[in-house]
């Protein structure tokens, strides 16, 4: 998205992708915001939309079901095609796209990032590209940000380890997304069912990993699918990790800027990050276009990116990082108590579903045993 917008603004852009094919293998649950939100960033193409989401269902550990009709709340993407569409738009705008080319190091001059060293996997050749600014959009690995000292490795408490199948089965929801909670299903996380078209769904789960963990996400998912969808046919497997931590203190350095999960821009509670990444990239492109026009890509010139992000999406990420710490350490019994109270909330009309963090906070106030645990969230 940054390359698209900068190329459209007339700046020469090169996009390096270390994988041989853009967007593949998919590492994503693929559920995201609605068509209107997506259309702010690129024209909707039915080729990369797998299903519309019109309802959500939360299943508590004891089996209580919270369900709500949410017409047009989101879509489930075909992420491989979506990423390829973004790359095509970048090419059309004038950017150069180089798959199978991996950024292996940064060129640093006088304390500023002056470009990148790249390895072409096909030829084995390494080369340098000098640039006025480098944008790190390399996801959870964030090797660019780590090399620049903007971020470091994630602790096990700050990551969700996830596994997903694309399954084919008879009784899958058509336009309802489902979330399953409970320590036996997904300790420190949740399981999901996201529709992918008639008879197809992404069924996955993410957990907070632990060296003492007895079961891997794959083993837990095998158990879940066997119990919930016996006889399901597995069409594809997806694995990945998602960052579950608060925003970076700074996403910029002299000659460098980070976007997407590389900048911890995904929602730490849900793990979702597509809309936030698009939002971050659009903001980054605006700030970069201004900085490049003035010929100054120093950290101070890029600072408005930090400021605007902190005032907008960044503040919700902070809130959700705190919620994540609280929510995923609840016992099954506590989750059931919370679900009982939430059922009253979800049946009330007029709630803004986007404010689910607020709804959760209000519900917590009504569960006596959880108020003390949640005090850092509430006050």
């Amino acid at each position: 998205m940054v390359a698209i917008r900068l190329a459209r603004a007339g700046f020469k852009s090169i996009l390096f992708e270390k994988r041989p094919r853009i967007g593949l293998p998919v590492r994503c649950g693929e559920a995201t915001g609605n068509r209107t939100e997506l259309a702010r960033f690129l024209p909707i193409d039915e080729k990369w939309i797998s299903a519309d989401i019109n309802a959500a269902r939360l299943i508590a550990p004891g089996g209580r079901i919270l369900e709500r009709s949410l017409p047009g709340i989101g879509v489930v993407l075909d992420r491989g095609r979506f990423d390829q569409a973004l790359a095509d738009l970048a090419r059309t705008a004038g950017a150069e796209v180089r798959p199978d080319n991996e950024v292996i190091d940064l060129i640093e001059e006088n304390g500023s990032v002056a470009g990148v060293r790249v390895r072409d996997h096909a030829s084995g050749r390494s080369y340098q590209v000098r640039a006025a600014v480098t944008v790190g959009a390399d996801g959870i690995e964030c090797s660019v940000g780590r090399r620049a000292g903007l971020t470091r490795h994630l602790g096990l408490a700050d990551i969700h380890s996830a596994f997903q199948y694309l399954i084919e089965a008879d009784d899958l929801p058509l336009d309802t997304i489902e979330f399953y909670t409970g320590r036996s299903i997904a300790p420190g996380g949740y399981a999901w069912v996201f529709p992918k078209g008639p008879g197809l769904a992404n069924v996955g789960l993410g957990i907070q990993p632990s060296p003492a963990g007895v079961a891997s996400p794959q083993e837990l998912l095998d158990r879940f699918v066997a119990g919930r969808y016996p006889g399901a046919r597995i069409r594809a497997t997806v694995a990945g990790g998602t960052s579950g931590t608060k925003p970076l203190k700074t996403m910029v350095a002299d000659g460098l800027l980070l976007v997407g999960e590389a900048a911890h821009q995904n929602n730490p509670l849900s793990g979702g990050g597509i809309m936030n990444a698009l939002e971050g990239a659009a903001l980054a492109a605006d700030v970069l276009a201004e900085a490049l026009s003035r010929g100054d890509t120093g950290a101070r010139a890029l600072e408005p990116y930090n400021r605007h992000w902190a005032r907008t999406v960044g503040s919700s990420i902070h809130k959700n990082a705190r919620l994540r710490k609280f929510f995923y350490q609840l016992s099954d019994h506590e989750l059931d108590d919370l679900a009982a109270v939430l059922q009253g909330f979800t049946h009330r009309s007029g709630d803004n579903v986007q404010d689910y963090a607020e709804i959760l906070k209000n519900a917590l106030m009504k569960v006596p045993g959880l108020v003390w645990k949640a005090r850092k969230l509430l006050w």
Partner: protein, 71 residues
């Protein structure tokens, strides 16, 4: 320093998902394209990558074990 155990990748299980390099504090793991590279000189057997791997593709193995032992 020779440690009694070393990190081993079961390449057939790895899905190149990048969860392991994300939690590697020593920089011993790098996903080069779709291939996971392990620098055993940097690895200090902290186990984080083993815990983070969704498919149990990584494990510690006794250094003394040979390829013949494993087969």
């Amino acid at each position: 320093m020779v440690t009694p155990e070393r990190l081993v990748l079961e390449a057939g299980r790895c899905l190149s998902c990048a969860a392991c390099p994300a939690v590697c504090h020593s920089g011993a793991l790098n996903l080069a394209g779709l291939i996971l590279e392990i620098d055993l000189e940097l690895c200090d057997n902290c186990l984080s990558c083993i815990a983070a791997c969704p498919v149990r593709a990584l494990r510690l193995e006794n250094n003394a074990k040979t390829d013949t032992d494993r087969s």
